[in-house]
């Protein structure tokens, strides 16, 4: 089991007012799965993803990642897990401004323990998302779809086990969105675990399993029959 959550509770304390965001979530994800986490806004799906992605610490509960109990990990150890084993893709891309596409993809490698061949590793990641030709563009000179593909390349460059994608198509038109989903599917086919947060059923159906969360609790956890799964077609380099 790659990810094992047991009774995860997350409370936010806003000046004495305690908001219960996650109320005892237990979830297991195996290596190679493509899981979509669905739910209305405020349901706690983003908090769940942040907790699984080590961006946020649970108030209580145990989290085993790749068999290791992570509750005792310090900040540096968590940073290392985020760097080496997890890749993030955000809704708003979060590329560094005034920085080339290549340097954006190199960024996680700067914090990686292995500093060798940064440029060639970044180029390889960019080629795998079809952006091998645009490495010297500035991050503000490319389209939204291309930005998200740069973000995926950045998530891939340290060769992580899991990729977390938080509404990856939320800011994209349908064509660019399809390209991004196609890339995620391909990555999953190559054996990478994908955890996708979305409120869009059409996006969620790319996954092989849909976990629905409401009011901080998992209300359903179903496998998607192959017949219902949506597969985006590969779209060639959009000019």
């Amino acid at each position: 089991m790659l990810i094992e959550l047991k009774d995860i509770i997350k409370n936010y304390d806003n000046g004495g007012v305690i908001t219960k965001v996650l109320r005892g979530v237990s979830l297991s994800v195996d290596e190679g799965e493509f899981v979509a986490i669905m739910g209305p806004s405020g349901s706690g799906k983003s908090t769940l993803m942040h907790t699984i992605g080590f961006l946020d610490k649970p108030t209580s509960g145990t989290y085993l990642f790749d068999g290791e109990d992570t509750s005792s990990f310090n900040d540096d150890e968590l940073a290392r897990i985020r760097n080496e084993r997890i890749g993030f893709v955000f809704q708003s891309f979060n590329l560094l401004p005034r920085t080339s596409v290549l340097d954006n993809v190199i960024l996680p490698l700067l914090y990686n323990t292995s500093k060798a061949n940064q440029e060639s590793r970044a180029k390889l990641a960019l080629e795998s998302v079809g952006l091998g030709e645009r490495i010297h563009f500035m991050s503000n000179q490319i389209s939204g779809g291309q930005k998200q593909r740069v973000a995926i390349a950045r998530a891939l460059v340290c060769d992580p086990k899991v990729i977390f994608a938080d509404e990856p198509t939320g800011n994209l038109d349908s064509k660019s969105g399809a390209t991004v989903m196609n890339i995620l599917e391909r990555l999953n086919k190559d054996g990478r675990t994908i955890i996708l947060v979305t409120h869009d059923r059409g996006v969620a159906l790319h996954a092989n399993r849909i976990v629905t969360i409401s009011d901080g609790q998992i209300v359903s956890d179903v496998l998607v029959p192959e017949s219902e799964r949506i597969h985006s077609k590969e779209i060639k380099e959009d000019e």
């Binding site: 940073a79 985020r82 080496e84 979060n94 700067l110």
Partner: protein, 421 residues
């Protein structure tokens, strides 16, 4: 490894160049002032050294001095009824004679010496009158003194012995009296006597009431016997063979003077012997005090500049909060973020420091050029150690004032930072 931090820090600085310049203004002014003060101090020192060099670098001064014991007695009020308290400083000490100089020549390390008597006279040439300091000095002056006679010549021992009425003029007084006329061979009037101008000094680049460019030099015997009616000297300059033995020679000179002046108690010494180091050390002490004072004032500007940098770093941390969150999400540790911001703060202060060094040096250069244009022997010097100190101080300020904002950035919770975007 550290070039990552530099890359990120430089990217941050480049993102707002005009703000960078404004931020570092305080540092620029502070460092600029430090460099200006240090450089002007060195320039002034070079000027003073040049003035001392005029006397020759391996010389020693013998001055008359009111004995300490006499002073003590006068300060002690009416111990002795006939002591006129005001007289101690007003009445010159009359014991330094040409005979003492003759005896100095028996000291092995003494190469040469000359005695000086000083008087003030009205000097007249074809209707132009000026009050000038008249320096009567032995002919040996022209061998020891490093001043260059531009026109004509100095006087010789024979002219000194025969009480010749010959004069060598400082460059400025020569111009004042003669204008474009050639002064050599002309007669000037000093008191009741006519003197033939036989030489004119090149400008020595000094200023003030004691400027040698304003003085007239005549044989000491002529001044003493024909004008002043005295037989004592005001001071003497002794030239040494070996500068390194100055301290031992000083003791020899003191011995000769005590013997000649019948002094057994050092408290009754009626003279002072100063090596060049000693004459300069007083000046250097004063210069150091002034320099420290000015640098203390400049460091206030550095403090203000440091606070300015701290202020802007807090702003920068807030501005880039989303970026910090992203970097943390991508695996940056606390110390990565800390170093990035700390290096950015240090780069800011170093940029300010470097601009300050350039600006301060430029101002110091202007000061030096101005001083040189008024005829002073003032050198433009930017001391390397001053530059090293300035750069180190800027770095330290960057670290001291950058560490708090950088720590704030490093401690940000990644998810809090990401959500701010």
């Amino acid at each position: 490894m550290y070039n990552i931090y530099f890359k990120q820090a430089i990217r941050g600085i480049k993102s707002n160049p005009s703000r960078t310049l404004l931020t570092t203004l305080g540092i620029m002014i502070g460092i600029g002032t430090v460099i200006l003060v240090l450089s002007a101090g060195e320039g002034f020192k070079s000027y003073v050294n040049a003035q001392v060099e005029v006397y020759g670098s391996n010389t020693m001064f013998v001055e008359t001095s009111v004995p300490a014991s006499t002073k003590a007695r006068s300060n002690g009020a009416s111990e002795s009824g006939n002591v006129n308290s005001s007289a101690n400083n007003a009445v010159p000490v009359t014991t330094l004679k040409v005979r003492d100089l003759e005896d100095f020549k028996n000291i092995p390390n003494v190469k040469n010496s000359y005695g000086v008597s000083v008087g003030q006279q009205i000097v007249t040439y074809s209707g132009i009158s000026k009050t000038a300091l008249i320096f009567g000095s032995s002919a040996a002056r022209f061998d020891i003194d490093k001043g260059v006679i531009e026109m004509g010549r100095g006087y010789g021992i024979e002219e000194e012995k025969s009480l010749s009425q010959v004069a060598v003029l400082g460059s400025k007084i020569a111009t004042d009296l003669f204008g474009d006329e050639t002064p050599i061979g002309k007669l000037i009037r000093l008191g009741n006597y006519n003197f033939e101008v036989i030489g004119v000094y090149e400008s020595k680049g000094s200023f003030g009431p004691m400027s040698e460019d304003d003085q007239i030099f005549i044989p000491v015997s002529t001044l003493q016997k024909k004008i002043q009616g005295i037989d004592y000297l005001f001071y003497a300059v002794v030239e040494l063979r070996d500068k390194s033995k100055a301290d031992a020679t000083k003791l020899d000179i003191i011995d000769v003077l005590r013997k000649n002046h019948y002094i057994s108690d050092p408290a009754r010494d009626d003279f002072k012997v100063n090596t060049q180091e000693e004459s300069l050390s007083v000046f250097n002490t004063i210069l150091k005090a002034i320099t420290f004072l000015l640098i203390a004032i400049a460091s206030i500007s550095l403090m203000v500049g440091g606070v300015g940098v701290m202020n802007i770093m807090y702003v920068v941390v807030t501005e880039r909060i989303g970026e910090i969150g992203l970097k943390k999400a991508l695996g940056a540790r606390r110390r990565d973020i800390l170093y990035e911001f700390l290096i950015e703060a240090v780069l800011l202060t170093i940029i300010g420091g470097v601009i300050g060094i350039i600006g301060g040096s430029f101002l110091a250069f202007v000061v030096a050029k101005f001083a040189q244009s008024t005829g002073l022997a003032w050198k433009f010097i930017v001391p390397i150690w001053g530059v090293v100190i300035a750069v180190s101080v800027s770095m330290i300020i960057g670290v001291v004032f950058g560490v708090f904002p950088a720590r704030n950035a490093a401690r940000l919770d990644p998810i809090v930072a990401l959500n701010k975007e």
